[in-house]
Symmetry: C2
């Protein structure tokens, strides 16, 4: 590689500024580790006057990031603008076509335009690296793409959104409701003013789609991800889960099934003895399962200026040192089309919680209906007796492994009973070996 | 890189056989991931007749691995013989000098001869890769060397020996003594007939020395590691630790201190709320702390045919794909000499457990002695009163952060008291942010 590798940074928000600062602060060890001098020579951002905590003296400044992508001086373009289309897409595409490597933290872009960008990268003999796009500072892209390259992967599971994990952890620890904790998280800066991307699971789904592509060698297929956020998770279900030995987590799960790949982001219950259930607060974690390695769990900070800059710089060092891997682990032309598994055929255990008027015969009706659909019960808890006769009580059923179709059928029938005081709540239970 | 990368495997024990089987079983996905055909063309082992679960037809067989190292056909020599000198050392050295890359699972070799081998590798423009040498299938070498390349590392901590972790876990869960659980572990195949390398901490120390070199950019310095195994850990201390909210783990800890690098393998107490305390049974885990990324924890299977083969093959794929890094993260000539921190200057919290004759004035003596040495107590538990007056009771003191010198001074004085029925037990408490 060259003696000096020149970096252009597009976007000087917190992560962009953090990246520039890291590259400067650790200049000497990065030179030892990469075998080259890594130097930021150009940047682009809209506001030249803002104080970002570093000097822009000597840097070529572009108001338009598209001009930065055309700068023939730079070797690597670092895209930290965000968004799956518009300028971020234009800039990455132009840089790749211009023979520059791209490093990005942009999960939406990779999840939605990844295949096209990988093809362009391959055609131009450059790469697009995106460690920072998934799970922040945790080197999970590298672990999956290189560290576990000897394995057929059967499942990837992740706590991929720190905001959701923080909210769920706080709800459990303090017995509070979603809306209340979200409002507090917004005040503390752990959740955005518009929390939709986070709490509705979209951010996690972007990341899951990327992990699934790497794990299974398929074209990234964001639309295949069934997405459900955490707005409907109640303090009651969190508490009942604890009693049963489970914890509720927003998990992204991608798994190989006989008929295709199942991809979901949703609140699920996991055994409290498992490693992933113990990942709390703003931390992220990814559990990978390979046929040779068995289960591997990686945990760390999934967001923030410094952890994200760490991942961006790891990608820069790799490229500067002449190490690169195909964008999704194999050349774009070798990626298979994704075959989606029917979600109805999902098999697993389930948690079903009813709120019923406490009258004789209700349980007989419920258990008969489950039996009719071939659903077998592992356990049941009925919480106390209502204080006044005919009051409302929660009834919780844990079903042994069954199909989603059978379970949905049973729940649809049960939902029609007059004994319900509110609609049943159904949640999948995900099993882990460790 | 070439269209075909030819592999010679020296040593066909369980890991060698597992590696050959993996390379064959996943031939197609490995070709996609590496961009080359990876083919085993030659092997060496002493016994040609043993059934290893794969056919050796068509493979060149060498009785002496030194001849394999001289085979001009092969591109990568995979050393799975073991041991820090003798044939393993000869074979790796010869292969590197012969311009071949080396992949090894040999922690003793890297810990004791790593610097010399790295120099030879650099001089011959090849690499020696050893992901399998530390924490089995967990891609921790890659994470530290590449994934966290943007960070100054402050501390590396690991549960690096599955046998010890299994024994400590079982002792705690079943309230049993070390000798008893060791005997069972030997019967189950979790411990060797001669368990010295494992239970006395030597295996973990080899791995820690390697991690320290990568983390801090220093020459690997096995002799700098203060090593203490788990033979003296008692069921009583495990139980008392639980009561105090701690768990006893055999940890390898390497940390940067103002005066040098402190490296230890010893039983320590860790807060039960931390992630690393929850890694149980045969699992390994490594916690890395970087100035940008914060804490990152990786967990998985640290030994066994298949996890180890997974790591060996990951290294093979990297080399076949043309990705390589300097042996210890930076060129051998850029490695700094290791500066050892004085262990006496270690600062941290401590657990001190006495068994004392339950007489008036004992506690006053003990607390006065701690105070005299400037050691401040965080908490104390005295376990019940002895049933007969003048009986023996355990007294546990948790000391606030202090120096090892102060603590040892106090313990030496306390050990001289006539009130002791047996020598005091002192254990370090290690703190983690998560």
């Amino acid at each position: 590689m060259k003696d000096v590798v020149k970096i252009g940074v597009a976007g000087l928000g917190t992560v962009g500024a953090g990246t520039v600062k890291l590259l400067s602060e650790h200049r000497d060890i990065l030179a030892d580790r990469s075998g080259t001098q890594i130097v930021v020579t150009a940047v682009s951002a809209r506001d030249r006057t803002r104080d970002r905590g570093f000097s822009t003296e000597g840097l070529t400044w572009y108001d338009d990031a598209r001009d930065l992508a055309a700068d023939n001086e730079i070797d690597i373009l670092v895209e930290l603008i965000g968004g799956s289309d518009g300028i971020a897409y234009d800039v990455c595409k132009a840089a790749l076509e211009n023979g520059k490597h791209v490093v990005t933290a942009n999960k939406a872009l990779i999840a939605l335009k990844g295949v096209e960008l990988a093809q362009i990268a391959d055609a131009n003999n450059v790469t697009i690296a995106y460690e920072a796009a998934v799970a922040g500072g945790i080197p999970v892209i590298k672990a999956l793409r290189e560290g576990l390259a000897g394995n057929a992967i059967s499942r990837v599971t992740g706590i991929l959104n720190g905001t959701c994990n923080y909210i769920l952890t706080t709800m459990r620890e303090q017995g509070r409701d979603f809306a209340d904790v979200l409002a507090e998280a917004q005040k503390l800066g752990y959740a955005e003013a518009d929390p939709t991307f986070d709490v509705d699971g979209i951010d996690a789904a972007h990341k899951l789609a990327i992990l699934a592509s790497l794990a299974f060698g398929v074209e990234v297929d964001f639309d295949a991800v069934a997405v459900e956020g955490i707005r409907s998770v109640s303090a009651l279900d969190i508490q009942l889960a604890e009693e049963l030995g489970y914890r509720i987590k927003l998990l992204g799960i991608a798994k190989q099934t006989p008929e295709g790949i199942e991809q979901r982001v949703s609140p699920v219950m996991v055994d409290r003895a498992t490693q992933i259930s113990k990942v709390e607060g703003v931390f992220n974690a990814v559990a990978l399962e390979g046929d040779y390695v068995g289960p591997v769990v990686l945990q760390g900070r999934g967001a923030g200026e410094r952890p994200t800059a760490s991942a961006v710089v790891a990608d820069i060092v790799d490229i500067a040192a002449g190490r690169s891997a195909p964008v999704f682990g194999v050349p774009a032309e070798r990626l298979k089309k994704n075959v989606r598994a029917s979600l109805e055929k999902h098999t697993g255990a389930y948690y079903l919680r009813l709120m019923v008027w406490d009258r004789p015969g209700v349980m007989a009706e419920v258990t008969a209906t489950l039996a009719k659909h071939g659903v077998s019960m592992a356990s049941m808890i009925q919480h106390g007796r209502a204080e006044t006769e005919g009051g409302v009580v929660p009834v919780v059923i844990v079903a042994h492994e069954t199909t989603e179709a059978a379970m949905s059928g049973a729940v649809n029938d049960i939902a029609a009973f007059e004994s319900n005081s509110q609609p049943p709540v159904l949640m999948r239970i995900e099993s882990f070996a460790s």
